[in-house]
Amino acid sequence: MNKATSMNLKINGNIKSFDDTSMTIEGLVIQLNLLGKRIAIEKNGMIISKSEFQNILLQDGDQLEIVGAVGGG
């Protein structure tokens, strides 16, 4: 195997495999049907601002937390 044909990302605690190995965070947001939703993303412990989504490439093994607002006291 000379070139990786997929990458694994750990998203919200679950490992997911993606065929696109040169995907930005924005690309991931689109794939997950989260475009336009009010979310915040942390990559490897660092918060990524929305304006950076299109600039940051994801790498195999990245850990992401994608959060939203839910009902709570």
Binding site: I11, V67, G68, A69, V70, G71, G72, G73
Partner: protein, 263 residues
């Protein structure tokens, strides 16, 4: 008599409603919205949780029912047991809500009782305030801890009336009174209110407001209870401002005139 506008002021912003409500434990979003409308609350708490991945695209979200431009969202750190987790959660919340800085900090110490961990709360408050957050802080009813949280720079102190979700009402009015007397920032009761009279008592003690969730959401009729709470808060506030009569064991002055009695 001209009525002076009596507003609740938190972190420089004024609010007409002194009732703050949570958005959890309702049957559905529709009921959540109806109850919140009936409560008249302007500030509503939300939790920050992992979003559903790869599920229904058209699945409704809380934000569709409670538009953030109509309500002041108060993201909380419910479920956090350490200062680090709480700080991390609120940084994400700030990103989520486009730089919104008003937050509710709560760090719990025990999953069984949900009693707050004031040591971790103090640590988290310090970090958050340095980072520019306006921190409304949930705490025990310990007056020294309350003062310390105020000294750190919290914009509102929110001691418990009794434990979260217990509905036990105000267990220690004396401590609350000490906290209120010494605080220069608003003191709001958060947690433990069970029914309308509890909320009224909190306000009569001089609280600036009350934050509740379960008392409304777990009532048989949440929407009616939300209305009851609204009235209780207003009644309690007015009674506080009006200044109650002194308590005495008996009175030597009857309500009706002693002159002109028939004989």
């Amino acid at each position: 008599m001209a009525q002076k506008k009596d507003s609740l002021i938190i972190a420089g912003k004024s609010y007409q409603s002194r009732l703050l409500v949570g958005t959890g434990k309702y049957k559905d979003f529709q009921e959540t919205r109806l109850a919140i409308d009936a409560s008249g609350a302007e500030i509503i708490t939300v939790a920050i949780r992992r979003t559903n991945i790869g599920q229904n695209e058209g699945e409704p979200s809380l934000l569709d029912f409670l538009p953030p431009n109509r309500f002041t969202y108060l993201p909380n750190t419910a479920g956090c047991y350490s200062a680090d987790d709480a700080v991390r959660t609120l940084r994400l919340a700030r990103e989520l809500l486009d730089g919104h800085t008003l937050v509710k900090l709560e760090v719990l110490g025990d999953p069984k009782t949900l009693y707050p961990n004031v040591m971790e709360t103090l640590k988290a408050a310090e970090v958050l305030i340095k980072e520019g957050f306006d921190v409304m802080v949930y705490t025990s009813d310990d007056p020294i801890v309350a003062k310390e949280l105020e000294n750190i720079g919290c914009c509102a102190i929110m001691p418990l009336a009794s434990l979260i979700g217990s509905g036990m009402g105000i267990l220690n009015p004396w401590n609350l009174q000490i906290i209120i007397e010494h605080a220069k920032v608003p003191v709001l009761v958060d947690a433990g209110v069970g029914t309308a009279s509890d909320a009224a008592i909190a306000m009569e003690l001089g609280c600036e407001g009350v934050l509740m969730n379960t008392a409304i959401a777990s009532a048989n009729d949440p929407i009616m209870m939300a209305g009851a709470m609204k009235k209780a808060i207003e009644a309690g506030r007015e009674a506080y401002l009006a200044g109650r009569m002194a308590k005495k064991l008996y009175s030597a002055s009857p309500t009706s005139p002693t002159q002109g009695m028939i004989s």
